[in-house]
């Protein structure tokens, strides 16, 4: 069968199927006009969660590296750790994949969890080191995001889901989480810079073609972005080297039998670098 055969077969659709599609016979579709007020209202209740995991391992590699990306990432993590743990940032540091706490202890598996709720992100330090954990666990610091950042990030996310993934009236919560090479994770509060980076990323995806091709399995994900809707539905995007993005999971579209899963989105190198730069830049 050729494309011409298919085109000709479509030409044989019955009159009844076609009549309503003739010009002047078209019954108008309700256009989805989104009022500014609605945006603002939605944005107020929308929190963007972008879980960014397995983030570019090189960002965390090698303490004291002069690489600005490493430095910025460490600064951000250290700042969160300081906030969460109540320690002086001068007494803490990130050494490779180890955290060094104020008392000089190091711990390989540092983990923070965050949850998004309305217009704030709550960051809870769960475990720092075996000794310091007793002091640190259960300490919760609430960081209220600037409304502007939320609206910006929320708007973009909402627009993507509204226009691109066809999700209506779904709320998105967001957090940003880095995972080091060995699987340890650290949550960074959803600061404006990371919100902006995710926003840029989503903006890029919204204008990108999604290929019908599927990505190859086994390739190491450099960055994992999980967008979580209020009802728990998720879309996971894996970012690979050279800016290749793959939709890894799309529970949102369960009824469509995971059409999106595994599809590739090609980002050009420049856009990829812009994303990384935006993510780590001050």
């Amino acid at each position: 069968m050729t494309r011409e055969d298919l085109f000709e077969a479509i030409g044989n659709l019955k009159d009844g199927e076609l009549e309503s599609h003739l010009e002047n016979n078209i019954v108008g579709f309700p256009k989805k006009k989104v009022q500014t007020g609605r945006w603002i209202g939605l944005a107020a209740s929308v929190v963007l969660i972008a879980v960014v995991a397995l983030m570019v391992p090189r960002m965390f590699r090698g303490a004291g590296s002069s690489n600005s990306a490493d430095y910025a990432a460490k600064e951000a993590v250290t700042e969160t750790l300081t906030t969460a743990g109540g320690a002086d940032s001068s007494e803490m540091g990130l050494d490779g994949t180890y955290w060094t706490t104020a008392d000089g202890q190091t711990e390989e598996t540092n983990q923070f969890e965050a949850s998004g709720e309305e217009s704030m992100v709550t960051t809870t330090a769960e475990s720092l080191s075996s000794e310091s954990a007793a002091n640190e666990t259960d300490q919760t610091v609430e960081t209220v995001l600037s409304q502007e950042a939320l609206e910006d990030g929320g708007l973009w996310a909402y627009e993507i889901f509204y226009n691109f993934f066809e999700l209506d009236d779904s709320h998105i919560t967001a957090e940003v989480q880095y995972t080091t090479e060995d699987g340890a994770t650290a949550v960074i509060d959803a600061s404006e810079q990371s919100i902006n980076a995710v926003r840029e990323f989503l903006k890029y995806l919204s204008t990108s073609e999604i290929s019908s091709e599927r990505g190859s399995e086994g390739e190491e994900v450099q960055c994992l972005v999980t967008l979580i809707l209020e009802d728990g539905a998720e879309v996971q995007l894996g970012l690979y080297g050279e800016g290749r993005v793959q939709i890894l999971d799309d529970s949102v579209y369960a009824e469509e039998e995971a059409f999106w899963r595994g599809r590739l989105i090609e980002m050009d190198k420049e856009a990829y670098e812009r994303f990384i730069a935006a993510f780590v830049a001050e």
Binding site: M1, T2, R3, E4, D5, L6, F7, E8, A9, I10, G11, N12, L13, K14, D15, E17, L18, E19, H21, L22, E23, I26, G28, F29, P30, K31, K32, K33, N163, F164, E166, S206, T207, E209, I210, S212, E256, F259
Partner: protein, 185 residues
């Protein structure tokens, strides 16, 4: 003039039937033809369409005259496109639409058997009829009337990208549907 009156003119073998047809539906039919063939072939195709209508009415008395004409116009234009394809490409819209349809297919063997072609039409009819309203609108407008995606997107109030995504997903559904029905694609 109403369709019935124009058809009466055809049945009376009055050449005014052609004038009235052109007056009533000339612009619309030319726009459909123009999306399939080059501008220089549009007029010739349109005249062929009038001739075909003149020769087929009577005995035919179409219930939907406009659609009857559009169908003839589309078929004639596509035949001309195929005839000229080797020498010159058609307009961008048809080429793009065909490329999109090619995504549904793996092979390039032409359907020679008219029975299979007929079955394919019936399968497509079932597929289109089962589509949700918006998907059906986009599919038919794009692949029957060969209308540009941005125009359709504007009509249903979504971005071009969004419309293209819906179309892509519909083609994927079509591929799956044809495959399940046993077509070798």
């Amino acid at each position: 003039m109403q369709d019935e009156a124009i058809l009466d003119l055809y049945f009376a073998r009055s050449e005014r039937a052609l004038e009235e047809t052109e007056k009533q539906y000339g612009a619309y039919c030319r726009s459909v033809i123009g999306r399939i063939v080059n501008p220089e072939d549009t007029e010739e195709c349109f005249n062929d369409m009038l001739l075909a209508a003149w020769q087929s009415i009577p005995p035919n008395r179409p219930e939907r005259f406009k659609l009857y004409l559009v169908r003839i116009a589309r078929n004639l234009a596509f035949n001309r496109y195929k005839g000229k394809k080797a020498q010159k490409r058609g307009s961008g819209e048809i080429e793009t639409a065909l490329d999109e349809l090619a995504e549904v297919l793996q092979g390039h063997e032409s359907v020679e058997d008219s029975l299979i072609a007929k079955e394919l039409s019936a399968s497509l009819q079932r597929f289109v009829a089962a589509l949700p309203e918006r998907e059906r609108f986009l599919f038919v407008q794009r692949y029957f009337f060969v209308r540009p995606v941005n125009e359709l997107a504007d009509e249903i109030g979504v971005s071009s990208n969004h419309a293209a995504v819906i179309l892509r997903r519909t083609r994927e559904k079509l591929r799956k549907s044809l495959s399940e029905e046993g077509y070798s694609i």
